[in-house]
């Protein structure tokens, strides 16, 4: 696998991941700092399936099963964490989900079956870049259509004003739990694709830092914007790589430049590049 190929692959996986977090954070307005935990849960669960329990079926069928396993495992995690935690708001939910992400990572580190801290090796190469982008495409379509249906509108209204949303007949808890569970599940799908393209999993990829990076992708693109998420994922996968080429000092300091850019973005455009809008050629009167 070439370098560009590798990066393009990551772009695809991060598009799916960013969309999944956008459902929770951008659409529903719930703040999650443990998204890498769902990603990791899906990745490890699907890899466990294809390494230890794979059925004697053709590779694409097994990949579909692996994706389903990743989705279900992560969605169950989302449900387990969502039922108690979604009663919390804002900062509290952020910290609770952060804690959950850490618990997932620590559990992986302590599971010998999946390689513990050494990492999970020899995962079969079931997926490729076409899989990754086909899934990203389907998920993006899903998000677009969700946004334009009654369910999507209900979820978005929660972000805008919980009390008014409830007053419109939106069941707050169910809608929140729905977006949290499905968002987690989609992150699990991204995890399954990640596991079966990289063929190697390491607990360090599912730590807090990566949760933050995914969140920043969502925020950069604009919370609630599907096209924004895609652009956010593309930019934030490519820019840190591009900084490698900026030459001596910059390359050395790229990890300090990234947070500075982030802070500047927050100061200049806290709603992200696109806000909740979609990129479109149709004109919209904005009063």
């Amino acid at each position: 696998m070439g370098y560009y190929h590798g990066i393009l692959l990551l772009v695809g996986i991060f598009i799916t991941l960013t969309l999944s977090l956008n459902l929770i954070n951008g659409f529903c307005g719930q703040f999650s700092l443990g998204h890498a935990g769902f990603w990791g849960a899906g990745a490890y669960a699907s890899a466990v399936y294809s390494v230890f329990y794979a059925l004697p079926l053709p590779a694409p069928v097994n990949m579909l099963i692996a994706i389903a396993v990743g989705f279900i495992a992560a969605a169950i995690c989302g449900l387990i964490i969502g039922i108690p935690c979604l009663r919390l708001r804002g900062d509290y939910l952020a910290i609770a989900t952060l804690g959950f992400g850490e618990i997932v990572r620590i559990s992986i580190m302590n599971t010998e079956m999946v390689g513990g801290p050494r990492g999970f090796i020899n995962i079969p190469h079931l997926a490729n870049i076409w899989w990754v982008f086909a899934v990203a495409f389907v998920i993006a379509l899903f998000m677009f259509n969700l946004k334009r249906s009654a369910f999507g509108r209900a979820i978005i209204s929660i972000r805008e004003d919980e009390i008014a949303a409830e007053n419109m007949g939106v069941n707050l808890f169910n809608s929140k739990l729905f977006s949290f569970t499905i968002g987690a599940g989609i992150a699990g799908i991204a995890g399954a694709l990640f596991a079966h393209t990289q063929q190697f999993l390491h607990p360090s990829n599912f730590n807090f830092m990566w949760s933050v990076i995914i969140l920043v992708m969502v925020i950069l693109g604009g919370q609630g914007s599907v096209t924004g998420s895609i652009i956010g994922a593309v930019i934030l996968t490519i820019v840190p790589e591009a900084l490698r080429y900026a030459g001596g000092t910059v390359a050395e300091w790229r990890m300090t430049i990234f947070p500075v850019l982030l802070i500047i973005l927050m100061m200049a455009k806290p709603e992200g590049l696109f806000g909740a809008h979609e990129i479109s050629f149709r004109k919209r009167s904005e009063g």
Binding site: I95, M209, M255, T256, L262, I263, M267
Partner: protein
């Protein structure tokens, strides 16, 4: 009773004591967290990094042959000054943009200092000697060190000091006013920006102090702030965020629980236990043990 069971009881007692000592340190860091949250409702993710910078500066002060008390002072001042600078340059401009941008900014600041620290101070862990000569007292099966006792006493002293400050001084009363209602405090003629800066300074100085006291068990390295910071935040939330005695209580609870789990079960679950407690407390009483319930006005 079998010998093993007696050992078990002794062990529990020992872990409990160790937990109080460790909890004292968490409490010290949590105090800063809680004060800042109380005053501007910001989860200051960079608080752990203030601690790291303070401890680093203290380390270099010691290396320059300053005596320990002077080094502690250096640590507290440098933490405090960095905190004021961060508040001025980063948090203040973002304050009006809403909570999520503020939280992201805080995370960005935290990451910045971590990587900045790795490049400037080097990634290798540095050791700070204990601030007093360590002596260990054996009481039966229990060991208590004078450092542990001293840390506990210092934390108690800090708590009393903060109580006095917030209740009996002008600046402390102003702090309480700002935390109760910022715009109203402003209308009453309180210079809120000054009070916020002061709160950051005070909180960070305590973190710097905590960083220096930690020398007895931990080494100082640029990434230390993240873990410590989140634990202190957890402690603050568990106790009831924004409430000073709550932070201390939370610190002790987390410290004790961690030591019990690490001692009796597996130390690799040490970090998981604090989050577990957090989730548990938030379920039972979202405002924390000492917190008051608040409902949004409709």
């Amino acid at each position: 009773m079998s010998q093993n069971f007696i050992y078990f009881l002794w062990d529990c007692l020992q872990y409990f004591i160790n937990g109080i000592a460790q909890g004292s340190l968490y409490a010290m860091v949590a105090l800063g967290y809680t004060m800042v949250y109380g005053i501007i409702r910001l989860v200051n993710f960079a608080h752990g990094e203030f601690l790291m910078i303070g401890a680093m500066c203290g380390f270099y002060a010691l290396r320059a042959h300053l005596p320990m008390p002077a080094a502690i002072l250096v640590a507290m001042l440098s933490s405090g000054i960095i905190a004021i600078a961060v508040e001025r340059l980063v948090y203040r401009p973002i304050r009006k943009s809403g909570r999520i941008p503020a939280l992201i900014t805080a995370i960005g600041t935290s990451l910045f200092f971590q990587y900045f620290g790795q490049l400037v101070f080097g990634a290798d862990p540095k050791t700070i000697p204990p601030f007093i000569d360590e002596k260990i007292y054996n009481l039966g099966e229990i060991n208590v060190s004078n450092v542990q006792i001293a840390i506990f006493c210092i934390t108690l002293f800090v708590l009393l000091f903060l109580f006095w400050l917030t209740h009996y001084t002008k600046v402390g009363k102003a702090m309480r006013a700002v935390s109760f209602n910022l715009p109203a405090a402003e209308l009453m003629g309180i210079n809120t920006n000054k009070i916020i800066s002061f709160t950051f300074f005070l909180g960070a100085a305590l973190a710097g102090l905590g960083g220096m006291l930690m020398g007895y068990t931990m080494s100082v390295e640029p990434m230390m702030g993240m873990n410590l910071g989140t634990k202190a935040f957890v402690a603050a939330v568990v106790g009831g965020i924004g409430i000073i005695p709550g932070a201390a209580l939370g610190g002790f609870i987390i410290g004790i629980a961690e030591n019990l789990v690490a001692g009796l079960y597996k130390s690799s679950f040490r970090d998981a236990v604090s989050f577990f407690i957090l989730i548990l407390i938030l379920l039972v009483k979202p405002s924390g043990i000492l917190g008051k319930n608040m409902k949004e006005k409709v």
